[in-house]
């Protein structure tokens, strides 16, 4: 009864996706394919003003001329962009004041995901804006937030109700021309969230959005825009789980954060899209553009726990434009079976005394490939910029890979840059030690992985940290015994 690395590997791959189901909510879906008419139709469907339609069309025309990027350390069958339906919405779009009005089937979905809104409301003081199949169906806590002047609503509504704000900031951090997926998103995004925190206001609760993909074959193009006005603070949570599906699903979101002078934005993500089965079939392609800009003395922290998706391509970044601004990136990326992740961050130092911290924890199991790709750029006028980067990889078994691609560009001599990297393996000695203390192998792996990820888990808001720990366990658990 020898326990080898091969056994360990087998244990790790036998775990099936826990949330493999989807609900039968009646949906309205556009015919597959993308052209100017479709872009216009999406815009019309949403009753958008002309400037928004034009903005989308401009993005579409740019996208048409762009090539899909190839530089990431991932391999996959390219999505057929004309084979995707670009709009899908529940047929009725109810305006709801309370959970009682929510479609019971939908509520059941959330229950099966282990996310009871009621419980969340009570326990976590979280306002949840649920995005299901591209359309928001429930918005809670609007009132409490409204009293503080905080705007938190689906972006489609914000376009109607706060056009000036949206027009000013949309695309200001991630321009429509930024990259292939950002351009595509700009052309066809169907919904997402908008958040505005007025001057000097501390948002009294964590803002949260749960994204779901639910309609077979629909790509999902979410758009999130968070604006923290001078001296304000907000903590924003984004989490997702996707139902099991055989064909690949494309997800290309754009998130833009704007932290004006002295403001702080904490943006936390727990990502659990369907990773595909253990042969690597199916699963979500997650090509996300996330970027924030910091004005003077502002701070943006990205914290992410990535356990899902077949292919992940994601680099939450900070443009440290203002003097004394601070950018942080804390990441845990888990890959198992045939998952591939190429993720990291960009810290662009423009202002004086700007500071950035990067802590990346990659955990690879099975036949997966896990890459960290990070850029630290110190521009010529960024006096006394500082960066600290730490990239740790944990390997399980012999078939997986961990890669680190740090890029450092320094154009100012006063910069101080530190980079540390480690690679370790869960050893049989560690497992035996745990076993000897009465802890079985599955629990031991969870314990070791949680320990390895601790510095990042500690950065998550409490209620999210618990969920994230559970997710780490689920995504690595086998069927021991």
């Amino acid at each position: 009864m020898k326990y080898t690395e091969d056994d360990l590997e087998k244990e790790l791959e036998t775990q099936e996706y826990k949330y493999g189901f989807y609900t039968d909510i009646e949906s309205e879906t556009f015919a597959k394919g993308l052209n100017e008419e479709v872009v216009i139709a999406i815009s019309k469907k949403k009753n958008e003003p002309q400037w928004m339609t034009d903005w989308r069309l401009e993005a579409f025309r740019v996208w048409e001329k762009m090539e899909e990027p190839e530089w990431a350390n991932v391999r996959y069958e390219k999505p057929k962009f004309q084979d995707i339906a670009y709009y899908s919405a529940p047929k009725e779009k109810p305006k709801l004041n309370s959970l009682d009005e929510v479609d019971p089937e939908l509520l059941d979905t959330f229950k099966r995901l282990g996310i009871s809104l009621d419980e969340q409301k009570k326990l976590a003081n979280v306002a949840v804006d649920i995005v299901m199949d591209s359309v928001s169906v429930a918005t809670t806590f609007k009132k409490t937030l409204g009293e503080k002047g905080i705007i938190f609503m689906p972006i489609s509504e914000a376009i109607q109700e706060h056009p000036a704000l949206v027009k000013k900031y949309l695309g200001s951090v991630v321009p429509t021309t930024d990259n292939f997926y950002a351009a595509l998103n700009s052309a066809v995004f169907s919904d997402g969230s908008f958040c505005y925190i007025p001057k000097g206001v501390r948002c009294p609760m964590e803002l949260s959005t749960y994204f779901r993909i639910n309609e077979g074959g629909t790509g999902q193009f979410e758009r999130t825009l968070v604006v923290a006005d001078k001296g304000s603070f907000v903590s924003y949570l984004e989490g997702c789980t996707a139902p099991s599906r055989d064909e690949n699903q494309l997800h290309a979101a754009v998130v833009e954060l704007i932290a004006l002078d002295d403001a702080e934005i904490k943006y936390s993500t727990v990502q659990n899209w369907y990773p595909g089965n253990k042969e690597g079939k199916g699963g979500v392609y997650n090509f996300v553009t996330k970027r924030g800009i910091c004005e003077n003395n502002a701070k943006i922290s990205w914290t992410q726990v990535e356990t899902g998706s077949a292919v992940t391509w994601k680099y939450p970044s900070c443009i440290l434009k203002g003097n004394n601004s601070v950018g942080e990136f804390y990441s845990i990326a888990v890959t198992n079976n045939h998952q591939q992740a190429d993720t990291g961050t960009k810290m662009i130092h423009l202002g004086k005394n700007t500071k950035s911290t990067i802590i990346s924890k990659g955990i690879s199991a099975g036949h997966s490939q896990n890459s960290y790709r990070g850029l630290v750029q110190i521009n010529s006028r960024a006096e006394n910029a500082r960066n600290f980067s730490q990239c740790d990889s944990l390997l399980m078994g012999n078939a997986c890979g961990a890669h680190t691609f740090p890029y450092i560009e320094v154009k100012n001599k006063s910069a101080q840059i530190e980079h540390e990297a480690t690679t370790s393996k869960i050893g049989e000695e560690q497992l035996f030690y745990c076993n000897q203390r009465g802890i079985d192998t599955e629990k031991a792996i969870a314990l070791i992985v949680n320990g390895f990820s601790k510095e990042v888990l500690n950065k998550l808001p409490m209620e999210f940290a618990v969920e994230a720990q559970k997710l780490l366990e689920i995504s690595l658990e086998g069927s021991v015994g």
Partner: protein, 249 residues
């Protein structure tokens, strides 16, 4: 409590234990001594269920039941504890979190609920005082950056927390300074009762001044070649192992 008969074990076709017999009864303390590479740690690991070793012959019984098919964690649940010669590091997992998990997993295996936090805390306080362990120490990552002596003291702390039926201490004394040796040995003595047993693996008489053994065994070349009372340890300390080796030829 523990009965080992004609135990033969090997690794990668290299035979390490060659027909070893040992019986330990409740309430007893056994010391195992023997030269480097004799197979002492191997024996401890095999009792604890390390799967790397192939048991080619013989039987291990705990409380009259054969345990050879049990996984290491099941043996632990049945009351076997091994204080490792070289404890491993688990970064990011605090001593407290680790021992809490160990206790609750053991309870779960017995169909019990998690230990209430209040009781856990009380127990941690009690046992850390017994072993004169600073509370701050307990929030550090398990064995990470611990000195040799700290690692050993931490092993005994875990033993105190888990209250095993059969404790095997593999060179727990090595690395301990004179005061620590006394503290740890006193700790072990306090945990001793008529219902549990201790196997002490050591190279030095020193530890046996504190933890007085009922039996001393010499393990040589994968077998127990000589057994006696506490005085055998003194004799070994004075004369080394050569005379035993000579007796064998």
């Amino acid at each position: 409590m523990l009965k080992i008969e004609n135990l033969q074990a090997s690794i990668d076709d290299k035979s390490i234990l060659n027909g070893l017999n040992l019986e330990v009864k409740a309430g007893e303390v056994h010391a195992i001594m023997g030269p480097n590479g004799a197979g002492k740690s191997t024996l401890a690991n095999i009792i604890a269920g390390k799967e790397e070793y192939e048991v080619t012959n013989g039987a291990i019984e705990l409380h009259g039941e054969d345990i050879s098919e049990l996984a290491p964690e099941e043996r632990a649940h049945n009351g076997i504890f091994l204080s490792f010669q070289y404890p491993v590091e688990i970064p990011g997992v605090s001593v407290t979190n680790f021992i809490k998990t160990a206790i609750n997993e053991t309870r779960k295996a017995k169909g019990l609920e998690d230990m209430p936090a209040k009781d856990m805390l009380k127990k941690i306080r009690e046992k850390s005082e017994l072993l004169e362990i600073d509370r701050k120490f307990l929030s550090r990552s398990l064995n990470e950056g611990f000195s040799g002596g700290e690692k050993k003291r931490n092993e005994i702390f875990q033993m105190a927390m888990l209250e095993p039926k059969l404790a095997i201490l593999d060179e727990t004394d090595s690395g301990l300074d004179i005061d620590a040796l006394r503290i740890v040995a006193n700790g072990v003595n306090k945990l001793k009762s008529k219902d549990n047993a201790v196997i002490v693996i050591t190279h030095y008489q020193r530890l046996l001044d504190y933890i007085v053994p009922d039996f001393v065994h010499v393990l040589y070349d994968g077998k127990i070649v000589k057994s006696g009372d506490a005085s055998l340890a003194l004799e070994l300390e004075a004369k080394g192992y050569d005379w035993i080796k000579q007796e064998l030829v």
